[in-house]
């Protein structure tokens, strides 16, 4: 059931006159009962709603995905890395859903992973071969924690080796048939 009979028209009123139809309105109001103190400085602006004088609007010349919980673009926003490619398509899908929905956040995480692959492809397309050793800061791991470095390298080598071995064996079996 949706009933709007008691919904306020315009800013919420805080005077007793506006609530004279409610017996005892404000009788127990206690300004010291404010758990937001001192983090929030009470100015009673809550009752005015979204009516502040806005800063001037930054011009928009790239795609900005905006939460559907907002009614406008904020006056200022970041313009780095606009959505593009497959990751961008996933992000656009995600932004159809509110911040309260898993369908907003989980696709964004997926888009991030897709974006990593897109980043490598873009690097290669520009003639840059990513240096995984340097990008992961492995020089420091070798310097300060050789044991961990060797263990992880050995584990990775074992996994890669096992995967390659299985692939070779399967390929040989296929050829034998």
């Amino acid at each position: 059931m949706i009933q709007e009979d008691n919904a306020p028209v315009g800013p919420v009123q805080i005077s007793s006159a506006a609530h004279s139809h409610i017996k005892g309105w404000g009788i127990d109001a206690d300004p010291s009962n404010d758990p937001t103190y001192p983090i929030k400085k009470r100015t009673n602006e809550e009752q005015l709603g979204n009516t502040w004088i806005r800063p001037s609007q930054q011009p928009q010349d790239v795609e900005i995905l905006t939460s559907n919980e907002r009614n406008n673009l904020p006056a200022v926003f970041g313009t780095s890395n606009p959505p593009s490619g497959l990751s961008g398509a996933i992000r656009r899908f995600a932004f159809k859903y509110s911040e309260s929905d898993y369908l907003h956040w989980l696709p964004l995480m997926m888009a991030d992973r897709v974006n990593v692959i897109e980043g490598v492809v873009k690097d290669l397309a520009h003639g840059h071969i990513p240096n995984g050793f340097k990008e992961r800061g492995l020089k420091s791991v070798w310097k300060y924690n050789k044991g961990v470095f060797i263990r992880k390298a050995a584990l990775r080598a074992a996994i890669i080796g096992a995967t390659v071995a299985v692939a070779v064996i399967r390929s040989k079996k296929k050829k034998a048939r």
């Binding site: 758990p35 001192p38 983090i39 929030k40 400085k41 009470r42 100015t43 602006e45 809550e46 005015l48 979204n50 502040w52 004088i53 806005r54 800063p55 001037s56 930054q58 900005i64 995905l65 905006t66 939460s67 919980e69 907002r70 673009l73 904020p74 006056a75 200022v76 926003f77 970041g78 313009t79 780095s80 890395n81 990751s87 992000r91 932004f95 911040e99 898993y102 956040w105 989980l106 964004l108 995480m109 992973r113 990593v116 897109e118 490598v120 990513p130 240096n131 995984g132 340097k134 990008e135 992961r136 800061g137 492995l138 020089k139 420091s140 791991v141 310097k143 300060y144 924690n145 961990v148």
Partner: protein
Amino acid sequence: MNYRGPYKVRADKNAPYPEILHPEDAIVRVVRSCICGSDLHLYHGLVPDTRVGTTFGHEFIGVVEDIGSEVTEVKVGDRVMVPFNISCGKCAFCRQELYGNCHESNPQATAVGGIFGYSHTAGGFQGGQAEYVRVPYANVGPTVIPEWMDPDDAVLLTDVVPTGYQAAEMGGIQPGDTVVVFGAGPIGIMAAKSAWLFGAGRVIVIDQLDYRLEFVKNYANAEVYNFRELEDPVVFLKQTTDSLGADVCIDAVGCEAEGNKMNYILGTKLVMQGGATTALHWAINSVKKGGIVSIVGVYGPIDALVPIGNVVNKGITIRANQAAPKRLLPRLIEHVKNGIINPKELITHRIPLEEVAEGYRIFSGKLDNCIKPVLIPPSAGM
């Protein structure tokens, strides 16, 4: 700094010079930029909408190089510290000094205001782990660094000191209170230090790294305990507080808390929840009935395992927010001047920006007894 994917970053020498995009923008030449514990959540791939090509960094100071047509509060040549939040100063939230909750700086999420270099979930702004950075709302955020202040102290006033201080402030600490801080990273260390300023009677810090516990024991006069040596930290804390619990518990750990394998795997590996909530779980269960839990640890936006039933049954008050450095700076600058807080003592590593990948690896892996790394751009000269 250029993020390439989880655990992969590089120094990009071809990054474009930032532009003035709004009349209240400034361009700042960075002279110091820290790596924050919450940057590690980005680095580890845990924050949604972290796009390849993003420059991280929300703790930085520098020199104003260029200003927009409506900037009046700072001028070219000013040395400034820039709070990590981007605040317009005009919306209802900023006017109520909730500078971390600005409504005019983040299109992608209403849950948080704009933050420098903290993914598109926090507005898509490039951060300060760079030589130059665009600083929106330069009339509001940037604060001129006093002549007497060491730049290493100033850079820690952009986030670490205010966040640790606000963690204690949100605890509503009364004289004589027992305060337990979960996490001996820079924020936890500063929260422990700040707890005494509010009159705490006893300050306990819990962590798993002995070198950090040793540091906070000396820096903040705290009692320290390694939870790896405790069978059950909650039982231990109850026993040490007359079986009643602490008056205030502070969660200065956030979404990558260790201490419970299932929670850790669900929160950080499978991402089935907004991070591992072990520290918060312990905070809620260790606090006294009627006590206060203060949360400054960063968590993801989706649901998380929390013993909410205990919050209700114990009558716990939870207070949480992104800190508001702008609100706190006047007081904190005074504390630094009077020698009450010495922020730069937390810095253990000074790393050239060109070696940012090594800096992240050292901080992420807790290598070389790292507590707080600072990146220094080649154009620092300060």
